[in-house]
Symmetry: C2
Subunit: 300 residues, 2 copies
Amino acid sequence: MIVDADHDPIVAFLGLGLISGSLAGALKRGNWRADLIAWGPRAPSLERGLALGLIDRFSLDLPAIMAEADVIVIGAPPEATAQLLPELLDLASSSGEPVVTDMASIKGVIVEAAGTDYPRFVPGHPIAGSENSGVEAAYPELFDGREVILTPSGETDTSALKIVERLWTTAGARITHMSVEDHDAALAASSHVPHMVAYALTSMLADHALSPMKHGGGALRDMTRIAASDPLMWRDIALTNRDAILIAMDAMTQEHEHLRTLIAGADGDAIETFFARCREVRRKHDDILNPLNPQSEQTD
Amino acid sequence: MIVDADHDPIVAFLGLGLISGSLAGALKRGNWRADLIAWGPRAPSLERGLALGLIDRFSLDLPAIMAEADVIVIGAPPEATAQLLPELLDLASSSGEPVVTDMASIKGVIVEAAGTDYPRFVPGHPIAGSENSGVEAAYPELFDGREVILTPSGETDTSALKIVERLWTTAGARITHMSVEDHDAALAASSHVPHMVAYALTSMLADHALSPMKHGGGALRDMTRIAASDPLMWRDIALTNRDAILIAMDAMTQEHEHLRTLIAGADGDAIETFFARCREVRRKHDDILNPLNPQSEQTD
């Protein structure tokens, strides 16, 4: 593998969709000095990625791509990534030991599938996405200012970790490290359950006799946007991080019922205190939640 | 009152904040051909509105403003509007019978307070707002493409209704009519409960041992944005539309618990069907929820 001042490692994307396509675009934007290549089971999305200038070439032959790549980026949902990993790491062992990283939003099932025999595997998760999907929706700004969580273990190869970090910082992201367990519990609360809440709210509105969604404004726009996310991907997440999601869903129900009790009891002061604390907490996290233009939020 | 081809009616705002300031700005933008004037209990926000060019002049003397205005726009939250109305409509009766309209997000309590003796009162509710508040946050685009719901009764004066409609269409909004009861039930579902859900979610995250909000992305940004809304205003709404809100909160809990059951049972197909329906419903309402640039939503 060539890693010096004049060259970057060759990056291969396994599967080309919104996230991997955006990463490819972000690396192009960042003047990554090596070819970006891709493999997939079918040609159309790869051809599209080539036409969009996101990758330099592609192949439907996985061993051929593996032999050429210095870094393998798996662009698949959690369950597919977990299924692919054992065979892929075997293949990597006999193909020059490239760095392998994934982008799945759940890490427990991934790390379990990867085992401990391939220290150049670096589990990763970019906190970025869209309710749109497919390489057509890719755009290079997707990771600007966003967090990428890596969950290396004590056995993870340090040079492999550094290369994955360089990949993401070139793409505009900032890196943090977490344990696998903390990652899955934190993400259940910060991403998975918010999605479940958006789904439940949208379903409630769809069933309502007055079709209230017709009268929605900016508040409803935001509170239901992610209910248009890919059903297959979120089915996968719901099943793969089930235990942590159920715990966070129950915590959500408790808060909702607590607030209901305050409203039913017409306890104005307690309601106001509850709301005021939320405003304070939300405002304290404005910079994280709006990394690029913190003052840009307007319509309700 | 002068209403002809060369002149528009003089509009007086009682209280100048985000909504009324934005309406004033939108009327200025729409070349409203009459003075925009304002009254308030204290000078600072009125002085600011004058400096920002939203109004032409103001007074702290309510009867003086009433005597001059052709249209009175009450810019106050539901409870304050309800408290103000009886006295205000009395004063209006003896001040040339101006059109009076309000912008409170709950109509039952307003219509009850207004009674039936003043047919030139037109209850209204613009579906627009922001988690920011105050005249400083006002901007003339706030109502562009947004819905304004009017809830006239059979007794409402037709010419008064037409003037209020012209006010809002000049400001860029589109008008619909609803019954008071339907309005309050629909808004409980489409706006009030989404706010309660955002508050409950934010509170859950604030109490979580791992501070998951630190790892939030675009999904969490959107799902918690309105939890930064004005606590006093939302206390008022929670109390004033309590019964309809409790019904919609319970419907939300049912959906959430139903989804929890599907996830706990690892029923992948049912989960996917649930999510797919939500995507379809959300996409069908994209034009309403994003009236200006329906294709502009990106980051997750």
